[in-house]
Amino acid sequence: MEIVKTTQLIKLFKGAEAVNEVNLSIKEGEIYGFLGPNGAGKTTTIRMLLGLMKPTSGEIELFGERIKNHRQHIQTLKKIGSLVESPSYYAHLTARENLEVLRKILGVSKNRVDEVLNIVKLTKEANRPVKGFSLGMKQRLGIASALLGNPRLLILDEPTNGLDPAGIQEIRSLIKEMPGKNGVTVLISSHLLYEIDHLATQVGIITKGKMLFNGSIESLRKKAKHQVAFTTGEIEKAKTILLASGFVPTIDKHSLLLDYIDHEQVAHLVYQLVQENVSIYRVEEKSKSLEDIFLKLTSEENGYVHKNTAG
């Protein structure tokens, strides 16, 4: 079942498209990584899912139900826990009191407060005012708040923003445990791919309000496969020879790029080129990391020409 589904979701801010025809589809039990640079429309999309903003047009389906009005949206919000951007808290209250405010509204048992405090390891700090907390602790409190209502869908918007590496690691391991434990579906947004690599099963990439990629992280990874570059003096001639041998190269400046081929094939092609008196300056392997692909996808949309980086 699809837990989250949006169809042609559009949000205009003063005529500009903050979110432009976004189609999301998140299935039960998935960890969906929602990626994009800052200002790409991630938070706006998430705010619409949470009913904080009204879509200009398009449809939202949550738990298989089309959201028609605010009253209906409120019903589905019972099953959603969220953490949106910067931590939200009441500074003068303790961690426990902060959770108590939410507990009253959610109507869960008092034990649940202790449970979530334990999950995020804040039990010892529970009776301290939150204004004295570090950012990492505040963010953990945010996750505790999101978990309080036993949600079936967890929406985390930039949960690791501003945290140090240790904090990021902690949050990451917390999130990783979610789906395994009780089949919670997680939507996590980030502007850094490496944060959700090894975490997300599905990925959506958004830039300037438009979805550029939507699929499994494996299919994204496939785009990251290695290439072999032949740098030669006579690029057109070399291309013809490669084509004759049954390989279709792409031209990148003074190089011919081929999708990954093994040692034997490289040796064969070099032999062919040398036979035809083509000077080979260099044969090298180029690898694209997921990060490169992410950068390429998002920067092309921004109008930059992205160069392949040598690996």
Partner: protein, 235 residues
Amino acid sequence: MFTKILQAECIKLKRKWLWFLLFLGPAGVIGLTLVDYSVRYEYLIQQNPNVWEGLLHELNITLPIAFLLGGTILASNVAHIEYHRSSWKQLLSLPVSRLSVYTAKFVVVMFMLLIASAVLLIGIFGLGWWLGFGLPPSWKTLFVYTFYPFFSAIPFVAIQIWLSMLFKNQSRSLALGIVMSVTMSGMRELPSWFFWQWPMLVFSDYRNTYMITGVIIGVFLYAAGALHFIKKDVA
């Protein structure tokens, strides 16, 4: 559901100095009037053979200002609690209707003002006793003069809550509230529909009209503010 939201609101106000304000405000009004009487006791006593009515007249100089300033500060604070650490997004992504959130804030402010009015009533009673006026001749009059500002100030408070909830920058609502509460008491030439001055008109012949209209216009402004709040995008 609504009571739960109301309970949550009360937890948020824990250890806030706002509760202290409910005593500070009336204490200020009583204190100033006491100073007034100790400086020119003889003169004030001669002004009105009915000493209690004279006292209430004197109170009417400071009472509405203090009341409206209090309303301004309370309205701004219940909104600021949410704006301070961007809690609106967390609160409104819970399964709550925005109408009940807005209403809870409104009820909290009105309830606190009601407490302040009650404290003031006790204070006035004590002040009269201290000045040797004995028991008030009419309890009804005392009640009217103490709670009249409460009802006729509902439109004022509704506007303050509306503005405070709408703008993150609380200086807008505070500026309007402070300017209105300080200047209105000296401007009785304004047209009668100008509701900001209604709490000052306790000694006018139409005070009952102002009180009832205050409630009606107040509820209308509350509804308008709530409607606006429901439609608003939460950034």
